[in-house]
Every structure is written in C-alpha cells, then in structure tokens.
Symmetry: C2
Subunit: 256 residues, 2 copies
DNA sequence: TTTGACCTTCACGCTGCGTAAAGGTGTATC
DNA sequence: GATACACCTTTACGCAGCGTGAAGGTCAAA
C-alpha cells in the first residue's frame, strides 16, 4: 500500500503539515517522491510513524524520539527511565503548584484584600519550595533529610510575627556584617556580634544548633557561588569575612 | 529606593532580559527613564514584579497575569479557579503518561525485542487512553460510566490472540460492508452479514449486547463526523448504509 | 583619558507545528 | 479540450518566554 501525504495523515490522525515537518527534520522521510515531487509513503513509513506517535504521546521530544527509534532496545530503556524521572519530577512540581493555587484561592476568597494572613501562608509555602529547589539537594546531602524537613516544618509553623522577626533579623545580620567588615577584624566586637546574630537567625530554621553545622554553613557561603553572590552584594569579601567570624565565634579557629 | 535593570534583576532573581521583555509586553514598565534612556524602577514596580513572579510560579501565563493583577479580587479568584482546573487536568494526563512510560519500560526490559507480548500490553493501554480522550465523553454521556469502564477492562484483559481476532473481525466487517454496499440493499444477505459481524465485533468490547445500544451506535456513526470519516474511507455512503443495515438487523426498522 | 562595568536597541533561535500565500498537478465533468 | 476542484509543492511568518549575541552609547573610578 502506498500513501500520499493526506492519505497517511488521515490514517494516522495527524496533519499534513506535521508529516512535512517530520520530513524536514528528517525524522520521517517518504519512501520516494513521484515525478511531480509528491511525497509517497510505504508500509515501513507507516510503521515508523506509529512508533513516533506512540513516543510523542508519552511526551518525548522529537529529537529524543529520533534517537529512541534508531537505538537498540537497552538504550531505549535507559532513555525512557530518564524520561520517567523527568515526568515524576514534573508531577511533584505540579502537585506543589496545585496546592499553592488552592491556598491562594482560599486567601483571595477569604478576604477581599490581597495581603491577609492566608495569602502570606501561600508565600511562605512558596519560599520553602524555592529553597528546596535551589539548595535542597546540597543541604540534604550534607545534613540529611531530617534536618531539612524540620527546617521546612518550622517555616510553615511560624506565625506572621515570627516571620517578620526572622526577616528583620536577617537584615540586621547584613547591616552588622557590613559595619564589621570596615574594621577588617573578624575577631572584633562587631564581627562577633554579626556571627551571634547569624546564629540566632539560623536557629529560627534549624531545630537544633551545633557549632559544627554552623561552621559548615559558613564554609558553604564561600564555596557555593550562589551564597557568595548574595553576600557579595554587601562587600566583595563579605562571605569570606563572615566565615572567619563564625569560625572564631564557634571556637573552631583561634584569633589571629 | 530606585533601581536600574540589573539591580532589580538581582533583587528579584530574574534576568535583565526578562525585565526588558516585561517592559516590551507592557506587563511591567519602569517608573521612568533617565536622560540617557536607562530604565529606572521604584518601589511600586518592585511590588508589582513580586506579584508577577508569584503568579508565574503558579504557572499562569504572562497574558493572564496582566489581567489578574489589574483585576478586582473576585475576578482573580475566578481566574485562579479556572487555572486550577487546568492544572488538575494536566495532572491526570501526567499520571496516565507516567503509567504508560512505565509499562513501556517494563516491556522493553522484559524482552529485548520490541514486538513481544508486554509491549503489546503497552499499546493496548494506549489505545484505551486514546479512545477515552477521543470518544470517552460522548460515550460516557450516552451509555454511562459503567459501560465504558467495562469496555476498557475488557480490552485490557484480552489475550494477544483475542486482540488479533478482534482486529481481524473489524477488517472483515469493513470488507463485507464494502462488498454489500455494491448491491445497494441494506436488507440484502451481505449487508445483514456485515451487521452481524459488526455485532460480534462490538460484543468484544461491550459486556452485554442490546439491540437499542447497537442501533444507537449506528446512529452515532452517521452523526459523529469522526466515525463518519472513518467509514467514508470505505465508501461515501458507508456510514449511512451500515446504519440502515444495523437498524434492519436489530429489527428496529422494516425492510424497504 | 582610558578602562570596565553598566546601559540601550535590534534581532535571531528554541519547539512543534498552524496557517496562509502563491503556484503546480490530477482527474472528473461538461 | 476547457473548466472546476481537490490535491500537491515550497516559502515563510507566528505562538511563549525568554537566552544569547551584536553593535554601540554612558558613567564612575583610576
């Protein structure tokens, strides 16, 4: 059986444009073209198209499909597993989204203004999600799942007042650090006050404090470019200075 | 506080390109531009950007966000509810996808060739999903949820042999219909054989047969353009002819 | 005055096609 | 054999939300 574009398109339930596009990107070329340049497809092309459409239904990109259908079975399995991981991640994100949207709806309906407590809760939830996305993996690897869960739970349980307090505390850490850095001495009074404020700040998020964890976090500020970028806005050496101050504060490093 | 593009971009964690794009599509314009054409943002723009980013996290399109943030709260709630529906639908689709991908992985891993029984199961699942998507709604409305569930369950429980049998049967229906249509008489022997084959075919999918349901399906073949398009490939009047034949077969219409 | 870090406006690229536009081909009918 | 009409072709812009140059002006510090 031979098919022109439209016949094959009807058979497979796709548009002729799609077939021409598949020809263009070389994922499905016609068996031959007739004397007038018409595309002619044969049985092999029908089978191949069915495979393509099957994977397309699974949400695989055409680029990946191209590899999949010309790869041996074991490669295909690997590729599909990777694809499944992506889908699972997508579902988690989607569930979070839905929860957030529902929270927002509740808040918008609950009060007519947009700045009440419920809306605020929605934002907090978002903050946790963002933190998870950005730093979750590294932090989990370093301090274990439990610490992270507890930190998240703690943010969610914060009252609005507590949340404001912690935000103000964070600002105070920054301003004190900015002042302390002028002195150039991480063992100085202001620097040690900054370290202490920083301890107070993290204990808002951590369920228990340990010198080692505090020092570990300080190291991370220097090692991780995202944290470093944050502190760089205060001063080019802010991250390093804060690390030194914290190490001294935690008693893990002698004064100069 | 006033911000240039980059300052605001850093503050909000977006790119400068994004801010320029938001200016371009008129979703966030700077408060003013200085004498050199630099974009200058103020506090109001910061707040607006935060709102935009919040909705963006929820997966709302920029176009919709534009409406959302300038609409009163009750409109926003409606819009968000609509958005939630979309997300929920998306999740259902995603779950189906994941199930299918997992089936396919299992099939590809189970045997190294791509044409064994497991793979076949994956395809059957896909067929059901496709049917659901295309016709599920109408069929459910006409015959109720239960009938549809049973039909789906029956397809899944078919052995490969049964599935081949039903596919062959479908072809036989078509070829007999094509022959019968030549005679022009829907009450003729061949036409009634086609109707009988068609009954056999649908009883593969339906848990119980009734003349009325059979006749209803025949009407649908004519009324629904997708079914009609399928039968049109046999003959321009195939759908009508089959309907007549079935009505006579089911004893719901006298012979001419 | 010379860096170097900012800023500006184009403008193309990404995905997977939809949707014309402008023109050639095939075939049934008058 | 002309006409109509359904089919085919290539070319190319448009969609969302920016990323990523390119080419060139601006500003503060050294």
């Amino acid at each position: 059986m031979e098919y022109t574009v439209q016949k094959l398109a009807q058979l497979a339930g796709v548009s002729t444009r799609t077939l021409r596009y598949y020809d263009e990107i070389e994922i499905l070329k016609p068996a031959r073209t007739n004397s007038s340049g018409y595309r002619i497809y044969g049985q092999r092309e029908v089978d191949r198209l069915q495979q393509i459409l099957f994977y397309r239904e699974l949400g695989v990109s055409l680029d990946q499909i191209k590899e999949l259908i010309s790869a041996p079975a074991f490669d295909a399995a690997d590729a599909l597993k990777e694809h499944r991981e992506k889908l699972l991640e997508k579902r988690i994100q989607l569930d979070l989204l839905i929860a957030n949207v529902e929270k927002t709806i509740a808040s918008v309906e609950g009060r007519t203004t947009m700045s009440d407590k419920e809306k605020f809760e929605g934002f907090k939830k978002k903050m946790i999600d963002d933190n998870e996305k950005k730093y979750g993996k590294e932090i989990r690897e370093k301090y274990g799942d439990e610490t992270v869960e507890k930190a998240n739970a703690k943010v969610m349980n914060m009252t609005q007042e507590e949340h404001e307090a912690v935000t103000q505390l964070a600002e105070k850490v920054n301003s004190t650090l900015a002042e302390a850095i002028q002195s150039g001495n991480p063992a100085g009074e202001l620097a040690q006050e900054a370290a202490d404020l920083h301890k107070q700040w993290i204990t808002f998020y951590w369920s228990e404090y340990s010198k080692e964890a505090h020092a570990g976090l300080a190291e991370m500020y220097v090692a991780d470019e995202r944290f470093k970028a944050y502190y760089d806005k205060i001063h080019p050496n802010a991250a390093e200075f804060l690390r030194e101050a914290i190490l001294i504060y935690a008693g893990l490093k002698g004064e100069y």
